[in-house]
Subunit: 155 residues, 2 copies
């Protein structure tokens, strides 16, 4: 009975990976950067994870999917470990991140427009079209709005 419980709950890294959708290598990486605490090991030095690890990794995965940095997640995990701490910080992190996402969207949208404009001028015919795309890239002055560049949207 308790044997079966152990069988269900103490899993090798591959099973943890499958259960959470996080790659094996990434799990080991998370352990290395101290997001995930080191699990028990078998006599042969292989990792065996319990239910708490599964939960913690699911938390991490979800937060990463939402685009939180590993550093932010470290803080969020600390907060989640100490429920007596006020959650101001968690709120601040989320709001800051939301802000960042919105800025990124805005920049990408202006990028999109610019690219649409450029791509539309040349339909890619084989003939010598004196490529409008290349001209547009060479001549910045054609650009609709060109203060500062939008490249930060990629970082």
């Amino acid at each position: 009975m308790s044997d079966r419980k152990n069988l269900e709950r103490v899993v090798p890294i591959g099973v943890l990976a499958e259960q959470t959708g996080v790659k094996v290598e990434t799990i080991r990486y998370y352990e290395q950067v101290e997001l995930l605490p080191p699990p028990e090991r078998t006599e042969g030095n292989q990792r065996r994870y319990g239910r708490r690890h599964v939960e913690r990794l699911a938390f991490i995965k979800h937060a990463r999917d939402l685009g939180f940095s590993v550093d932010s997640i470290r803080t969020l995990l600390k907060l989640s470990d100490n429920p007596d701490l006020p959650c101001d910080q968690a709120h601040a992190i989320s709001v800051a991140h939301l802000d960042e996402v919105r800025h990124k969207i805005a920049r990408l949208r202006s990028l999109e427009k610019e690219l649409e404009r450029i791509a539309a001028t040349c339909s890619g015919g084989v003939s010598a079209c004196d490529c409008a795309i290349i001209e547009a890239l060479a001549d910045h002055s054609q650009c609709a709005h060109h203060q500062g560049g939008v490249a930060e949207a990629w970082r």
Copy 2:
């Protein structure tokens, strides 16, 4: 007269940086990865750039601002150097990139909604709010749409 022309046209790296808005270190990096051809040097081994370098770097900068990868830019530069080549490839690169941008926007928008939802549930009061943000992260099942994750939007 021709002396003055030289003074205007043959510039050190710092001036090129200023003129194009590309940092000095980045210019050297572009030379290293063979986006920008190596310029002439003074007797004391310092780089001196001409008008063609300025133009080429402006092209690169513009393309980077639009989010093209260094690799794509290499191809675009090759095309721009050989105007007799058909511009199909340039068109393909632009369209592929535009597609990528649109996907990124879509993913970020769903991220935005999710984050709004999560952040709204907790206003960050100091009192023991049993933080809804942290709960939401821990419990993936609350998530509105959770196939696949949206993290790729960050790459």
